[in-house]
């Protein structure tokens, strides 16, 4: 029996959505400040408009949805799903006003791509974009990686109990520390320490590479934010190919691999439990799957003799595979080169890497390492059971922060989510082929969208059919939220119509 949500429920959802949009508005202060410092008056006005739109929305929500009820689990899921859509619609105002987008859908696409740390872009003439807009784009990936909700948790939500449903609705379900607010603080600490260490290092490399101190700083900051969040945006249309630098590639790989690791793993390793990195199911799974992806990609590259030089092969192969597997989306080759130079086998290797993705409770997307590991262990359990005498009690163990016994419901949940990802990859591919794109290309970009990777082989472009843009946008959204929020929102809408 579906219960129709009461006015009180809608108020809770409205209030918390409004608070999150308020947070997005406050975030716009950073690009606004950038515009003022850089004397970019047009963008400054655009950001004032955008910021006020967000603040007005949030204030209206606070006025119209006044309630002292704490959000429940369902509320949390619905708010997570709904607020990402609302943030995409309203946060795109400065994008749209910049004049770099062909339509409002294009602007929303880039917003969603930023928040979900995907990295696919529809922005036109990126090489002539204002510093303010570039600041907004890259900040979006950083904030989106942290989770809009973690931001709201840290700053806006007062009590502890109401916060947890929102946090979980958003797709991170690790408790680093007993109190959810303290967990949010720990996540921020890890991110900010990496920011403090990573940005100066990138800055040094940029200046050594021949960039001016000012441009070098901006690029270092933006590239750091896009790398750590595994977003994959870059300030120039050439992406990380622009830098032509081995040290830069190395630094960004290190940062984005770190960014793809589970925050709980960071916390364990940072607080003295360094052995966790060897025993954790996700790092083990990641190592195995990236080795397989590298195997397939290398086979493809060698078959076609793409890179005649060992070092060139290694640099190009490893960077693209790592970028795909961590679902970052940085590329040191042209998008079309995947199709025209690398060929279908190497593309398949990258596609597999993207599909599997990074770790849970990180900024990465895809199936997630923990599910790959669990599904594999589930197979082991099944095989062992089949081979053991009927009454034997078969136990399979797995390690994630502590050693646990594998139980079937855990495997079942993991497999369900994997199936959901496969479904959105398939849907994106189907629609791509329907729109006339070849299968390998449609598959590549569809998986990139659903896994929030951001590598493109050329399908994603302003000239792409609006239907495909919409499908990718929803794929990015569903993939980032790991489906539960999406189902909750759908269920809520249905119950409003059909419930009693």
């Amino acid at each position: 029996m579906l219960l129709r949500p009461r006015a009180g429920d809608l108020k809770v959802i409205g209030l918390y959505t409004g608070r999150i949009i308020l947070g997005v508005g406050l975030l716009m202060a950073v690009p606004l400040a950038t515009a003022l410092v850089a004397a970019e008056w047009g963008p400054a006005i655009d950001f004032v408009i955008g910021m006020c739109a967000c603040l007005a929305f949030g204030l209206l929500a606070e006025i119209g949805c006044r309630t002292s009820r704490e959000p429940t689990w369902t509320h949390g899921l619905v708010v997570a799903g709904f607020s990402w859509l609302a943030a995409t619609a309203i946060g795109a105002i400065p994008h749209w006003l910049s004049g770099h987008y062909g339509s409002y859908l294009d602007a929303m696409f880039d917003l969603m791509s930023g928040y979900t740390t995907t990295g696919l872009i529809l922005i036109q003439d990126l090489d002539h974009v204002s510093h303010a807009l570039n600041m907004w784009r890259h900040l979006l990936t950083y904030a989106g990686g942290q989770g809009i909700i973690v931001i709201a948790l840290t700053f806006l939500v007062g009590g502890a109990s109401g916060a947890y449903p929102l946090y979980v609705g958003e797709g991170k379900d690790e408790r680093l520390l007993p109190n959810v607010i303290r967990t949010a603080r720990a996540i921020w600490l890890v991110s900010l320490v990496y920011l403090a260490v990573g940005t100066p290092i990138l800055w040094l490399i940029a200046v050594a590479n021949g960039q001016s101190a000012a441009r070098g700083f901006l690029h270092a900051l933006w590239i750091f934010m896009a790398a750590w969040s595994t977003g994959g945006f870059a300030p120039q249309s050439y992406n990380t190919y622009y830098y032509h630098s081995l040290p830069f590639e190395l630094a960004t790989v290190i940062i984005f691999v770190a960014g793809s690791l589970n925050f709980a793993l960071h916390w364990a390793v940072w607080t003295g439990r360094r052995g966790e990195i060897r025993r954790n199911i996700e790092t083990l799974s990641f190592t195995v799957t990236i080795a397989i992806a590298m195997l397939v990609t290398t086979a493809g590259l060698m078959k076609l003799g793409v890179y005649p030089d060992f070092l060139a092969s290694l640099r190009k192969m490893f960077y693209q595979v790592a970028s795909g597997h961590t679902t970052t989306g940085f590329a040191t080759i042209y998008s079309r080169s995947f199709v025209r130079q690398w060929g279908p086998l190497a593309m398949l290797g990258i596609t597999l890497a993207m599909a599997v993705g990074g770790s849970a409770c990180s900024t990465a997307g895809g199936f997630k390492g923990i599910r790959m590991g669990l599904v594999f262990k589930g197979l082991v359990l099944g095989v062992r059971r089949a081979l053991s005498p009927e009454r034997a009690h078969v136990v399979v163990k797995w390690h994630h922060l502590r050693t646990r016994v594998l139980d079937e419901s855990t495997v079942f949940s993991a497999m369900l989510v994997v199936i959901c990802y496969v479904a959105i990859y398939a849907l994106g591919t189907l629609v791509g082929v329907l729109c006339g794109y070849p299968l390998t290309e449609a598959l590549f970009d569809a998986v990139s969208a659903g896994s929030n990777s951001g590598l493109s082989c050329g399908v994603t472009s302003p000239a792409m059919p609006a239907l495909l843009k919409a499908v990718y946008l929803l794929s990015m959204w569903a993939g980032r939220l790991e489906f539960m929020s999406v189902f909750a929102l759908g269920g809520y809408l249905i119950s409003i119509v059909r419930g009693r």
């Binding site: 690790e174 320490v193 770190a258 290398t298």
Partner: protein, 49 residues
Amino acid sequence: MNGNGDYLDFRRWRNIASYLAGIGVEILFTLLLAGIGMLILAGFWIVGG
């Protein structure tokens, strides 16, 4: 999983050292993956001739 609130205090040198050591371990992880890539590539290179 828990950390004592202690580690959240980023102003203590001991904690900072611990964070940096953690970063060091994570860097090694990336280098390990690059090493695996190198081995795979070398394998193909040798077999391919």
